[in-house]
Symmetry: C2
Subunit: 318 residues, 2 copies
């Protein structure tokens, strides 16, 4: 299987490195500084999955025309706000048998990919392990909550194909399973991120401190209630059936083990970068609008984060 990893950030490098190590043909596309580092020195992976050195990993700053017809699987590991541009970039090397897997965060990525290439070549994933770039060429796996899950939506690729890809990744050392309910898993992760990320970023506190005041609890509850209203009207098969149960789970099971974590959104704002808010709270608002469900809490949080984004991008550029 010949795999193109489009987006050689921390996540893309980890997957690319493990797949290459397992003997697959892997090509990465990434930013110039990552390209230079890996071409010259190879890729180093450290962290909870051990230390690995992967030499001779092909990496480019752009898709090459001569790959056309050769790529079996493209893992899209770019930020959600870059999905459309990424799909346009990979279009030239997509052929009849190429599958595209959204190895991304948030809502709307799968739909954006499928709009160009069709749902029958689009594989949704729920990725929940943490990784970071220490410096170009050096990435670290920081935490794994659950195996990566691959699945299929209606009119998606056949189940056996997706199961085989999941099994291949799992065998390569990236814990991965096939799931019957990928939509539910993706929405569950969006619920977690939408409740915690903007508040952690706006208030500059780790997740655990969001449990300290009734006001932050109240905001998280409203975010979740709005998300569930939208999900239920959209017939999303939520894994936790009611918002009340999800809130209990979030408050007393999910937050405690990650109490010390800050949202990466906070770091994005500090560095004057874009955030993935549009694929989280912003997506809830947008889908809500289509379904005539008002989501004022998610809307205000989205707008506050986007205002902060613009203001801090300006500040960093000044």
């Amino acid at each position: 299987m010949k795999i193109l990893i489009f987006g050689a950030g921390a996540l893309g490098c980890v997957v690319g490195g493990f797949m290459k190590k397992a003997g697959h043909e892997v090509i990465l596309v990434g930013r110039q500084e990552m390209v230079d580092a890996i071409q010259q020195e190879g890729l180093y992976i450290s962290g909870i999955w051990g230390n690995h050195y992967i030499p001779n990993l092909p990496i480019f700053s752009k898709v090459q025309d001569e790959w056309k017809g050769q790529i079996d699987l493209i893992l899209l590991s770019v930020k959600s706000y870059d999905t459309e541009q990424a799909v346009l970039d990979i279009l030239p090397v997509i052929s009849d048998h190429t599958l595209i897997c959204s190895y991304q965060n948030g809502l709307g990525n799968v739909e954006k990919i499928a709009r160009f290439v069709g749902m029958e070549r689009t594989i949704p994933a729920r990725v929940i392990f943490g990784s970071r770039v220490l410096k170009p060429g050096f990435v670290q796996v920081t935490v794994i909550a659950e195996p990566t899950a691959l699945g299929r939506l209606e009119q998606g690729p056949d189940e056996t194909t997706v199961r085989n890809i999941a099994e291949t990744m799992n065998t390569a050392g990236i814990p991965t399973v096939y799931t019957e309910n990928i939509e539910g898993l993706i929405w569950a992760k969006v619920a977690y991120n939408s409740a915690l990320n903007p508040l952690s970023a706006l208030l500059d506190v780790p997740y655990g401190r969001l449990m300290e005041t009734e006001e932050t609890q109240m905001i998280m509850k409203n975010v979740i209630h709005e998300l569930y209203a939208v999900a239920q009207k959209k017939n999303v098969p939520m894994i936790i059936p009611t918002p009340e149960e999800y809130i209990q789970l979030l408050f007393y099971k999910l937050i405690p083990p990650t109490a010390e974590h800050y949202a990466s959104m906070r770091e994005d704002l500090k560095q004057g970068k874009k955030t993935e808010i549009d694929a989280l709270n912003g997506a809830i608002v947008k889908i809500g609008e289509e379904l005539n469900i008002d989501c004022p809490f998610n809307s205000l949080l989205t707008n506050l984060i986007k205002a902060r984004e613009k203001m801090s991008i300006n500040a960093v550029q000044e």
Copy 2:
């Protein structure tokens, strides 16, 4: 006329100082450090109304029982979150002829005062000049937007009495007028403060920068629309009749001259102090609840500020 100024902050000291200078009998009640400074060195007022030194200004840290029967007017110049405690503190020196003027910010102060002493002794004011304490005993008048306005609500003191008090203050050098629509003026100031203060504090930017992004404009619009929905159901005689017109006024007339100002709420949060959010956005939410009008934008802003308050009070105390 014997006047008790309860709350010898910047505002209370300015009014007390000018009334004393004009020959009225004035007593102040304030915090110990202000009491010590003024007892020892007198009061200094600087700023746009000139430099003034007021010696021999009686100031105490508590209400004295022997004042009972002697006080004609009490100016309440404490923060809105201290109104109830302040009314309890002054109760012992209130007699049949004592009037209480809420020289304060936000919604709900007049109602809290009237609950204890009756509306017939309660005078609402809209105060819109800026002042600050440079150090104990030294206060500065920083800016005046419009004269202070005094008025009366239904079942309030008779108009002549209120007009006389306004005239007395005006003659003493504190620009003051009588208004037929004090409720409209108070709500107009609340509209301005509710739209700008929490955003300036949360985003850490001056008012002018809130015009820079469509997201902040959108939040301000929603805050104003919710406020108007509540005000209209409550039959408040709004000075600007529609939210659309008020938003135009706010964006293009009110914000530009104060573009460089930060909300004092931002400073309160930085110093780990309480804010007046409960008398602004929080009051809109509360009145909205009584009238069955949902105010999610004001609710979320209130909760975010209260969360920041609690978290920064903790941080300052740590």
